[in-house]
């Protein structure tokens, strides 16, 4: 999913912050957040509004359109 997400990152530059978090256990902060958000399977996408409220979450490979729909719903 990395190329797709990187493409979206450029597209939404300055408007949306993109975070790619490795949850293989090497990044404790990422693992802690994943636990807090109930992440069990990857890829897992979390959409957070500007107030920090989690709007929605989705699991599994997605198309650009599906990811964009989730991001656009935040703005």
């Amino acid at each position: 999913m990395e190329p797709l997400v990187e493409g979206l990152k450029k597209q939404y530059e300055g408007k949306v912050e993109f975070r790619r978090l490795n949850v293989d256990g090497s990044d404790p902060a990422a693992t802690e957040l994943a636990t807090k958000l109930g992440v069990q399977y990857v890829p897992h996408f979390t959409y957070v509004n500007s107030d920090g409220i989690v709007g929605s979450q989705a699991v599994g490979e997605k198309t650009t359109e599906e990811l964009k729909a989730g991001i656009d719903a935040l703005q």
């Binding site: 939404y12 490795n22 996408f45 979390t46 409220i53 929605s56 599994g60 989730g70």
Partner: protein, 153 residues
């Protein structure tokens, strides 16, 4: 060895096989249908709740702890999931979740609890996107945040 002994050994072997088949641990698995109480029980036991409705429906309200995997994406999404873990699958009325359960069954999943009545029959408190105070929060810099959790392949 006397023929009589051979017969008894054969009988004992068959009995042992039958007993093993009857008593072997199954992990409470299989593909079963559950009601609302069954969903809560499974969730408390650590089952993953899968909502196979579309994202807009999911946003409006879902069973607490559910993750959204629209039915059209279930085969792709479930590719790397643990085949032996327990999953509760539901949609609005049971039609889409049946499709998802069939797909997961074909993929080799062994412990699926199908909430066939759908979320409309869920008697617990539904987690709604309007109940923002109950939702987890993430630190932001005043901008919306998109997070992808991944593991290196």
């Amino acid at each position: 060895m006397k023929p009589k002994h051979v017969v008894w050994i054969a009988v004992a072997a068959v009995a042992a096989i039958v007993l093993f088949a009857l008593l072997r641990p199954t992990g409470g698995g299989g593909i079963v249908t559950v009601d609302s109480a069954g969903v809560d029980k499974a969730r408390e036991a650590g089952a993953q709740i899968i909502d196979v409705r579309e994202p807009a429906e999911f946003q409006m309200g879902r069973i607490p702890g559910a993750v959204n995997v629209p039915v059209g994406t279930i085969e792709t999404a479930a590719k790397n999931w643990d085949r032996n873990a327990t999953y509760v699958v539901y949609c609005a009325t049971g039609a889409r979740s049946q499709t998802a359960v069939d797909a997961m069954k074909a993929m080799g999943f062994t412990n699926i609890k199908h909430f066939s009545q759908g979320i409309q029959a869920y008697t617990g408190q539904v987690d709604s996107s309007e109940q923002t105070s109950q939702q987890p929060t993430v630190q932001t810099d005043g901008k919306p945040v998109f997070i992808e959790f991944y593991t290196p392949t």
